[in-house]
């Protein structure tokens, strides 16, 4: 069975992979559509997502996570909600009714909204404690309000500090903007989050730490290592393509993922990555920025061994793949016989 899928010696697997992904790619729509009405986390889909992965962008446009819960939590909706509250990032401004700023004295009065606080399970005391921990701030409860005094003196820095304070987080994990509870057919609940922070999520009780899924490739590489990133690249490509109703053999996607990660860091496909680091001057010059590559090659005295496909097509030699890989050879002793 496995032998069936072995490729022959000299098979240009890279070109075949490129064709196998590229051709269905022409059928994918450039604009992705969202299904309205369903509570879900926004992610990039379709061609833009594929470009995002293959380009090796440091941060996806819409990072997301799938967080599964431990067995004690996963079937109990109340407990799931508790975890949700712990995860979702809450900014101070989100729980405020109104606020008063005094830019002269550097004092700000925050009036929290009771309903909003209840929803996130926060009390004014929690907020003032959090604020008191921050540097250069005195925070205390003042009746309904929280009184915040900052040390800055000039009006401009007081103002920027106030804005920063209101944007600071009082609860939840940093970077997790939105959490949606979803249910499996088996009745198990799980959470999808918009925004990704693997390290932060791991610290939350009730989270199944072994099955956290994130679509942020660079974060996965940082936390779990390059092999995890490799698998993530391949699976993300597969899922995005399959979402469009197109099937591409997983081996092609695996090859792309391998090519991007085999050096231990994530390289993009293109000018700044795989294609830009080819050995051959001609191959690089044929791709992009022709003059730059020739001048650099002359400055550093580069050699081109003319082994790749692009170079050999350029000069008109047989290419070294497929039927061009094999050559006839004669043993030296046989040659002597023939010469006689």
């Amino acid at each position: 069975m496995e032998d069936e899928y072995n490729v022959a010696e000299g098979e240009p697997v890279g070109v075949v992979a490129a064709h196998s992904i590229g051709e269905p790619g022409t059928q994918m729509v450039l604009r992705s559509f969202h299904s309205a009405g369903i509570a879900s986390v926004i992610t990039t889909t379709g061609l833009p997502r594929i470009i995002e992965i293959v380009d090796g962008r440091k941060k996806p446009k819409f990072p997301m996570m799938i967080v599964r819960l431990e067995s004690g939590y996963s079937k109990n909706y109340e407990k799931v909600k508790e975890v949700w509250k712990k995860i979702e990032e809450v900014k101070i401004s989100a729980v405020l009714e109104r606020f008063e700023e005094n830019l002269k004295t550097g004092v700000m009065l925050l009036y929290p909204n009771k309903e909003k606080m209840e929803r996130y399970g926060i009390t004014p005391g929690v907020i003032s404690k959090r604020l008191a921990k921050m540097e250069g701030i005195d925070a205390s409860l003042d009746g309904d309000a929280i009184k915040v005094k900052v040390k800055e003196e000039d009006t401009k820095s007081i103002r920027t500090r106030f804005v920063k304070i209101r944007a600071s987080i009082v609860a939840g994990v940093k970077g997790i903007m939105k959490v949606v509870v979803q249910q499996e057919d088996s009745g198990e609940f799980y959470l999808t989050t918009s925004g990704s922070n693997i390290e932060g999520i791991m610290e939350i009780d009730g989270v199944d730490k072994e099955s956290i899924y994130s679509n942020d490739i660079f974060e996965v590489m940082r936390v779990y290592g390059i092999e995890a990133a490799r698998i993530l690249i391949a699976t993300e490509l597969k899922n995005t393509i399959e979402e469009e109703g197109i099937t591409v053999s997983f081996r092609h996607l695996n090859l792309v993922a391998d090519a991007m990660t085999h050096t231990g860091v994530i390289k993009s496909v293109g000018r700044h990555g795989i294609a830009g680091e080819k050995n051959s001057v001609f191959a690089r010059a044929a791709y992009e920025e022709t003059v730059k590559h020739f001048t650099n090659a002359s400055i550093f005295g580069e050699e081109d061994m003319l082994t790749g496909v692009a170079e050999n097509i350029l000069i008109g030699k047989q290419i070294g793949v497929g039927t061009g890989k094999v050559r006839l050879a004669v043993k030296k002793q046989d040659l002597k016989k023939i010469m006689k």
């Binding site: 240009p12 064709h19 003059v291 020739f294 001048t295 496909v309 000069i315 008109g316 047989q318 039927t323």
Partner: protein, 610 residues
């Protein structure tokens, strides 16, 4: 809360703001009232746009406007009394426009109107009644037949085909010198037509013919969009057309007193094509009427002064050199000289126009299309005796594959077959103006005529196989359809090459039919061969059949040298040595090396013996 600025309603005239009014809606009504009374020109249209609280008045040209009957207080202004007067021919359309019964609305004013499609539907809220339901379609749909039965997307396609059709584009074509023109030999007026078609006078210069069509396959020859034609019908002139092409030339004057001369070029002229090429020219160097010409023949002999000023020869001013600048017939074409015109421009230079006519008889690969956006390419022209025939001896001109119809939903095509068949039996033109009748009414009407003439009322015919004489088991839907011959013809496109000209710079084959070019084996085609690992096929395409070049490379310097045929040995220009090897590389690569050298980089080719 709206402020004082927002409550003002801006008024725009032809897109430019001209002032404000308090109530835009009332203002627009006032203008309309005045227009209907004749105080303001009837060509002015006004629209109040509630959403942005603006009044747009349009009086410029280029607006498409549609006539509507005005409705006031739930009653059409076109009263029974007026209708009777029209029938008695006491009044005409313009009278109604002048009297404010009918007015023209443009696209913007239509947004303010509530238009009833039927007089019985008129209520108090309606402002207008549509004068003619067909007016909701544009011209292109209206000049077609039975288009309201087709899928909407087909209209645009049908328009495209109509634009490409050959016909009688101008009645004075014999006196015109169009760069290129097509004339159908026997254009016919369609049997099914519409009011718009007759009104704009298209029936005086039609662009198609009525084909007898059977909805039938023919041994797999009309799969997909292929059509089968009857050779007998083709020989009788079906789809036959002429291509007129004009070759202009003039005696141009050059600075320095030199000028062109229209004459048979002397053999001494630069670029002389050989005596044979000029054999058809008259004494004056211009070809004459009625001469058959073929590829390579010179139509107008012309001698021009050389491009560059000459060097002084040792004999002083020598014999003036000349350059052959004759006009030849286009590659791959042939025909008859239709007309020759000699005249003078205002600048007193002689101009010549030679018009060549070539007959275009339908052949395999020519494109035909009906008015219902059903195109097809001729795939087989069958002997008349091998075509299916009916008991009356009627042999279809064209066999259309029935699979063309269901997916495209061109029901109009089938209705036209039925209607035109009835029309040709009754010997009259039948009207098919959009929305005049329902589909069932059409079928009943056509069916009645067909039955009167002893045909099946649904247009089915018992057909016999022309090859075996056997009766087909199924009855076959047969009718008459108006077909256009499109100007996409193989004779204008066919092009083959095994050897031929190459570009000077790259030594690669030229591109395009007029230059006898090859077909480009592009980047993606190249990738396909790489993907198959077909290295020798790839090398053959990219090198052997393209720009293969033999180059001598110095074994020591790695620089490209040359072969000295006097000393009979290769030379390296760097070391002046003779130790060089012969390489087979693409000329484009040699060119690349030269260009790299031109940017002060010396590429060296290091050779290794295998």
């Amino acid at each position: 809360m709206p402020n004082a600025v927002d409550t003002k309603c801006h008024v725009y005239l032809d897109g430019r703001i001209i002032g404000n009014v308090k109530d835009g809606s009332e203002f627009a009504k006032e203008i309309r009232k005045n227009r209907r009374q004749g105080v303001i020109s009837g060509e002015v249209n006004v629209a109040y746009i509630k959403r942005i609280n603006e009044v747009h008045i349009n009086a410029d040209r280029g607006r498409v406007r549609t006539p509507y009957i005005i409705v006031e207080h739930g009653k059409s202004k076109l009263t029974e009394e007026l209708k009777q007067k029209i029938i008695n021919k006491e009044i005409d359309f313009n009278y109604l426009v002048r009297r404010g019964v009918i007015e023209f609305l443009d696209a913007e004013e239509e947004e303010n109107a509530y238009i009833a499609l039927n007089e019985n539907d008129v209520t108090g809220r309606h402002t207008h009644l549509i004068a003619d339901t067909a007016s909701m379609f544009g011209l292109t749909v209206n000049i077609s037949a039975l288009m309201e039965f087709n899928s909407a997307g087909r209209h645009a396609i049908a328009l495209n085909f109509n634009k490409q059709s050959q016909g009688l584009y101008a009645i004075n074509y014999a006196n015109r010198y169009d760069p290129q023109a097509f004339i159908l030999y026997y254009p016919q007026v369609p049997i099914m037509d519409s009011v718009a078609y007759r009104t704009i006078g298209l029936n005086r210069h039609p662009s198609g013919q009525n084909f007898v069509v059977a909805l039938s396959t023919y041994y797999g020859y009309n799969m997909k969009d292929a059509i089968v034609l009857n050779k007998g019908a083709v020989h009788r002139g079906l789809g036959r057309s002429a291509l007129y092409r004009t070759y202009p030339d003039e005696e141009r004057r050059y600075p320095g007193g030199q000028q062109d001369h229209l004459k048979i070029p002397p053999p001494t002229a630069d670029g002389y094509l050989g005596e044979h090429a000029y054999s058809k020219l008259g004494e004056d160097g211009i070809i004459e009427d009625g001469v058959d010409v073929k590829e390579g023949d010179v139509l107008i002999g012309k001698v021009s002064p050389p491009r560059f000023l000459e060097e002084q020869t040792s004999f002083g001013v020598g014999e003036e050199k000349s350059r052959d600048n004759s006009v030849t017939l286009r590659a791959g074409e042939e025909g008859v000289i239709d007309n020759v015109m000699v005249s003078e421009t205002t600048g007193a230079t002689r101009i010549v126009k030679v018009r060549v006519r070539s007959a275009k008889i339908p052949e395999l690969g020519d494109k035909f299309a009906s008015r219902q956006a059903q195109k097809g390419v001729v795939s087989l022209i069958v002997d008349e005796r091998d075509m299916p025939f009916s008991k009356d001896g009627i042999v279809p001109d064209l066999l259309l594959n029935p699979h063309s119809l269901p997916t495209r939903m061109t029901v109009g095509h089938m209705l036209e077959m039925l209607g035109a068949k009835a029309g040709s039996l009754a010997g009259k033109h039948l009207d098919s103006t959009p929305f005049t009748k329902k589909g069932k009414d059409y079928i009943d009407e056509f069916g009645k005529i067909l039955e009167e003439h002893g045909f099946d009322k649904f247009g089915d015919e018992v057909l016999y196989d022309g090859r075996t004489g056997e009766r087909f088991e199924a009855r076959i839907f047969t009718g008459v359809v108006y077909y256009n011959k499109l100007y996409q013809m193989v004779s204008r496109k066919i092009q083959v090459r095994s050897r031929g000209p190459v570009q000077i710079l790259t030594r690669q084959p030229t591109e395009g039919k007029p230059r006898k070019g090859g077909l480009r084996f592009g980047e993606m085609e190249r990738d396909a061969l790489v993907g198959h690992g077909a290295s020798l096929s790839l090398k053959e395409r990219m090198l052997d059949q393209s720009d293969k070049a033999e180059v001598w490379v110095c074994n020591l310097d790695g620089d490209v040298g040359y072969y000295d045929y006097i000393k009979n040995m290769p030379v390296c220009q760097l070391c002046k040595g003779n130790n060089l090897s012969k390489l087979e590389i693409s000329y484009a690569f040699k060119l690349l090396l030269d260009e790299i050298k031109s940017m002060h980089i010396l590429p060296r080719i290091k050779l290794k013996s295998d």
